[in-house]
Amino acid sequence: MLEIKDLKKVYEDGTVGVDNLNLSVAAGEIVVLLGANGAGKTSTMMLILGFTEPSSGTVAIHGVDVQKNPLEAKKHVAYVSENVTLYGNFTANQNLKFFTRLSGRTDVTEDEYRAVFHRVGLAEKAYYRRVRGFSKGMRQRLGIAIAILKNAQLIVLDEPTSGLDPKGGYEFLEIIRQLKAEGKAILMSSHDIFRVQAIADRVGIMRRGQMLELIERQDMGARDLQQVYLDYMKEEAAGATSAEVG
């Protein structure tokens, strides 16, 4: 579903955002990108969504090259950001309808809107409420409802559970699990190792734009994911210190 080949992004100020990244996400698979701030997780997602142009390499969604045919590629991807910010003056219903129409779907019935709204765990009374009064958790749920209604094969989530309470985070991951069961390809980034371990089929550890290791689900049991991650982070800290001394 998602094919990233030799992807590299160097920003105008010389910062390397993504460095020779190779990654694929298949249908019905959850791949989680793990890494500290500035590791290149969000940069990778921005490249997948075509928000920035890569310095080299390619990204293909459903076989469509994002750079060559961005509009066609975007039909197959839905995006949920860390802080889902919708139109505060609009009701949840208005936001849902607007973004669904924008995704090109005009055949969605009112019942379907409501069904998805309830599916993500939002109460009926919130359907006609203005989003301005929604909590972060409610907005995240509405964001995933928009992604579901788009019916895209690939869903990209940028740290979707950050800032959510444990219950909210757990419920959110349950929704993602259901989407996986429906055959959606899911790429998400996170800092939360425990939740990652519970949900991911593969975990990619990123540092300075590079994919250091891609750990398969079957290996996660044998290895302590937290320890692996911390070891990489220690290496980075040591590298940074020696560079400063040098």
Partner: protein, 458 residues
């Protein structure tokens, strides 16, 4: 997709607080300005009728009181003259233009015309703080509101994070931009047109605006210009919002441009024109003309009063006529010098002023409404023509060099033939302003388009 975007933009605008405030402001300001200028127009119209009635009564009184034809002739043509009211131009109920600068009446004698002010009892503060007419409201307030509507169109959505969500869909950027422009402009325009419509209906209802085709054409063109002018500021703000990444930066830049365009350039243009083309002040010209009068008068005196005795004869008369012709020629030279200098100043001020869309709007609006420099010139020409006609009529009643005066009636006295400049001719100078505003609109939209194509939505 375009309509989904446009619908969203319209709903977002309509639900926002600024729309409510804008709508209320439009209704209040536009309607209030039309109401005030309409009442001013009606007052001037009533005053004009009163002046005409009083002037006719005065003339009739002279005819009754002066029994001798010769006395009547001198009283009518040289002592009293004919006083004519200067009625306000028909469209001045909406666009005042130069109407406040025009006299309420003009007192005409053969070869001379004297302007009579609007009212000596007038409140001097009215001159200090002029009445805000439709041109003022559109030029100052609406341009500012257009900026407030669009300054955060793109950068505001980026800051809010919604732009990323929109752009994660298969939406062409040009559709987003076009929808933002069309919806925002529509939402801005509808309250304006409603307010103007209400104001115009009131003006028609009280009979302060003719309902002929010419007025309708002027009104339609005026509204078209207003829309184009508002669109200039709206599109400018859209372009600035596509260049910047913060709403505060965008607002600051837009306000800076607004201040330069609205307050600095139009006010500095006449000053700069005067620096480049100083000319002489009217007082200096009057002094020079007075000097010519005195000089020729002395030369005539010297001619006729030689060695303390009055000289007569054909030769002397010819020489006197020659000197009078010289006086006329030299006075005309000074008049021409003054009018040429003013023309050059006007041209230069027009060129500099047109660097600002506000000046373009004002020039175009007063030209189309027939209340600008053209109409003032038409009034001056009419009073000059009437003065000449008075001279000719006086000569026909007392043909020179005979001194016999024939009897005459009031109907023989010429009237002020104040004709309004036809719409087609009045709109001619506005074509340049139309082009400038259209070019600015296209340029700003192209800037917004090019910048938004490369806009970093992250």
């Amino acid at each position: 997709m375009f309509f989904a975007l446009m619908r969203k933009e319209i709903i977002a605008h309509v639900l926002s607080l600024r729309f409510g405030v804008t709508f209320a402001l439009f209704l209040l300001l536009v309607f209030a300005s039309i109401y005030v200028t309409t009442n001013e127009y009606r007052r001037d119209q009533d005053e004009a009728f009163a002046v005409d009635r009083a002037a006719d009564a005065d003339l009739r009184k002279i005819f009754t009181e002066e029994e001798k034809v010769e006395d009547r002739f001198y009283a009518v043509f040289y002592h009293h003259g004919r006083r004519e009211a200067v009625p306000p131009p028909p469209m001045s109920s909406l666009v005042q233009g130069l109407r406040p600068a025009m006299p309420a009446a003009v007192q005409i004698t053969p070869g001379n015309s004297r302007y009579v002010g609007r009212s000596i009892e007038g409140n001097p503060l009215a001159g200090l703080l002029p009445i805000p007419d439709l041109v003022y409201v559109v030029g100052i307030v609406l341009s500012l509101l257009a900026i407030l509507f669009a300054f955060d169109s793109i950068c505001g959505e980026k800051e809010a994070g919604t732009l990323r969500l929109i752009m994660s869909n298969a939406v062409p950027r040009d559709s987003i931009l076009l929808a933002k422009w069309a919806a925002g402009f529509l939402v801005l325009l509808v309250p304006f047109l409603i307010a103007v419509f209400g104001g115009v209906v009131y003006t028609w209802y009280v009979g302060a605006l003719p309902t002929d085709a010419d007025t309708l054409a002027r009104l339609g063109t005026l509204l078209g210009f207003a829309c184009l002018y508002i669109s200039t500021f709206f599109t400018l703000s859209l372009a600035v919002s596509a260049v910047t990444h913060r709403s505060s930066t965008s607002l600051f830049l837009c306000l800076l441009i607004w201040v330069v365009w609205i307050l600095v350039i139009p006010n500095l243009a006449p000053v700069v024109a005067k620096i480049i083309e100083p000319g002489y002040s009217p007082l200096k010209i009057a002094q020079e003309k007075e000097a010519v009068y005195r000089e020729i008068h002395l030369r005539i005196q010297r001619l006729t009063l030689t060695t303390g005795k009055v000289s007569y004869g054909k030769g002397i008369e010819e020489e006197k006529e020659k000197l009078e012709r010289e006086r006329t020629r030299r006075l005309e030279q000074w008049d021409r010098f003054q009018s040429d200098s003013i023309d050059r100043q006007k041209r230069l001020a027009g060129i500099f002023g047109r660097l600002s869309p506000a000046a373009c709007w004002t020039y175009a609006a007063v030209a189309v409404a027939g209340t600008g420099a053209e109409s003032y010139q038409a009034f001056e020409n009419a009073s000059k023509q009437m003065s000449d006609d008075m001279r000719k009529t006086a000569e026909s009643i007392r043909p020179p060099p005979q001194r016999d005066v024939r009897d005459f009636t009031l109907d023989e006295l010429p009237r002020l033939k104040l004709t309004s400049v036809p719409f087609a001719r009045a709109a001619e100078p506005a074509v340049n302003d139309l082009l400038i505003l259209a070019i600015l609109n296209v340029a700003f939209f192209m800037t917004a388009f090019v910048c938004f194509l490369r806009y970093d939505v992250r």
